[in-house]
């Protein structure tokens, strides 16, 4: 965290709304189209206490008054909520089932994830996206990913990813086309799991 981010003063958003949100979106589009590939986020943004830089950039690019955000107890700081309310105008809910985007840290209690909206058979798009702030993303062979977007397979390693995540994810994958998509957000990089992605834990 920078010093600046710990003050209660409002931090700036994107330098150039149109170009920066486009650049962040393109990274997200690539990441979800090619699950398991790791991308740098090409925009630097001021980061409020409670969030990390890539998560902040993701929300600035994707959230607005039409999306509800849920922040885990360790993320829901005044700085973070002020920042999102001011720059995105998005409602912030404490009801995880209402979330379009849910944000948590990897070492949080992740039991909330079973309450995320998965959409329904006719509208599977009405589901939540989970943004999980992590310390490190790498290509180490901890998980072997296959499925749409992946030629042959990708290896992916998310430091400290708990077994409970895999149990939930396996169940989630079976609900297809319903399900939750996951964005892993390290301080500088992003990788995603689409609900279609099959994971083999190595």
């Amino acid at each position: 965290m920078t010093l600046q981010s710990q003050t209660s003063e409002l931090l700036p958003g994107f330098d150039h709304a149109a170009f920066d949100s486009n650049a962040v979106f393109r990274v997200l589009l690539d990441a979800l189209s090619r699950p398991g590939r790791i991308y740098d986020v090409p925009v630097s943004v001021a980061t409020p206490d409670g969030l990390n830089a890539t998560t902040t950039a993701t929300l600035l690019a994707m959230a607005d008054m039409d999306t509800t955000i849920w922040l885990s107890p360790t993320c829901v700081t005044k700085a973070a909520t002020d920042h999102l309310k001011f720059h995105c105008g998005c409602p912030i809910s404490d009801d995880v089932a209402k979330a379009d985007f849910a944000v948590a840290r990897i070492d949080d209690d992740l039991s909330f994830i079973t309450h995320l909206s998965v959409g329904n058979a006719e509208y599977p798009d009405q589901s939540a996206t989970l943004i999980l702030m992590v310390d490190e993303i790498s290509n180490a062979p901890a998980m072997k990913l296959t499925g749409p977007g992946i030629k042959d397979s990708h290896d992916l390693d998310i430091k400290k990813l708990p077994a409970s995540f895999h149990a939930w994810r396996a169940e989630n994958h079976h609900m297809f086309p319903c399900g939750v998509d996951v964005i892993f957000a390290s301080p500088t990089k992003i990788a995603a799991l689409s609900r279609t992605t099959r994971i083999e834990v190595i």
């Binding site: 709304a17 650049a23 006719e122 798009d125 589901s127 996206t129 977007g149 279609t196």
Partner: protein, 308 residues
């Protein structure tokens, strides 16, 4: 860079980058992320009125506007050609509202917006193909009601589609669908590939590029992530097959491209040329010649002797 249209009534400067306001772009972008996560599923989106008519590519234009950034290079084709009037009009629109570089070369483009064709040249991982879609629902002509077709997709109830295709076989001895030929995506959703000729269907399978589909009037977005299994529907005794021509391209001699028929007179004389103008031009530049090639239509092309 394109020349800007000389139309004094257009005041493009008053609009945001790539025309759409940021909130609309975000709404489309969210739909796009869902679309790639559920390949072949049609995501409803609040399509906006665009300054070109519905049915003329407003869905593709909205998708392109949401995706395009200042560093992109855009190619627009209609029927495979860069210089058909509607392709020119859409290319001018983005050259004007987004000030992006445009190209006619498939290999140089980072985003290709298309109506009715997939380029012959194999697309790469760093390219995005955006399709203009008139009727996104592959079941629409079997069942006009959205409430019903949505149920059919939810229940994976695609029997009706197979019955329809089989009725064709019974009547004509062939599946009588030659374009907008339905495909099964990743063994789950039946999808309309847009009115591309079925010749192009095999290119969709496991394509390295991301494929995005926008239907503006019907307000649906769908997608095929790269390397996704796309299978044209067929039957064991009537396997899917693509169009073939006895002729070759009259200009470049290609045997492997989709050919348009050109009527030469009213005596039944005709010739065939590649519908993909860039593919044909590139082959001609490389010295390939078809039987009707007369000279160097590209100006500076090589002066090799045309095949007689």
């Amino acid at each position: 860079m394109e020349q800007l249209a000389n139309n004094p009534a257009d005041g493009a400067t008053a609009y945001n980058f790539a025309y759409l306001d940021e909130q609309t772009k975000r709404m489309i972008r969210r739909a796009l992320l869902k679309a790639v996560a559920i390949p072949g599923y049609q995501v409803p989106f609040a399509g906006r009125e665009m300054p070109m008519p519905y049915g003329w590519g407003t869905g593709g234009v909205q998708v392109t506007a949401a995706v395009i950034g200042p560093n992109d290079t855009l190619k627009v084709i209609d029927q495979g050609a860069d210089d058909t009037t509607n392709a020119v009009s859409i290319r001018q629109f983005f050259a004007k509202t987004a000030n992006v570089a445009t190209t006619e070369k498939t290999a140089e483009a980072s985003i290709i917006q298309t109506r009715h064709r997939i380029p012959e040249k194999e697309l790469r991982e760093d390219q995005v193909l955006v399709y203009q879609v008139p009727i996104p629902e592959p079941l629409r002509f079997l069942e006009p009601r959205e409430t019903e077709t949505r149920k059919m997709h939810a229940l994976e109830e695609y029997g009706l589609m197979h019955v329809k295709l089989y009725e064709d076989i019974a009547r004509h001895g062939h599946i009588a669908t030659t374009y907008a030929y339905p495909v099964m995506v990743d063994d789950r959703y039946v999808m309309d590939p847009s009115p591309t000729p079925k010749f192009d269907n095999p290119k969709m399978n496991n394509m390295a590029a991301l494929q995005l589909f926008g239907a503006g009037r019907e307000k649906r977005i769908y997608a095929l992530p790269p390397y996704t299994k796309v299978k044209s529907l067929d039957f064991e005794d009537h396997p899917f097959e693509v169009q073939t021509w006895k002729d070759e391209c009259g200009m470049c001699g290609a045997h492997d491209s989709y050919l348009d028929e050109v009527i030469l007179d009213d005596q039944g004389n005709r010739m065939f040329v590649c519908s993909d103008t860039d593919y044909c031009a590139e082959r001609q530049e490389a010295g390939h010649r078809g039987p009707q090639h007369h000279d160097q239509p590209l100006g500076n092309a090589s002066r090799e002797k045309a095949a007689e």
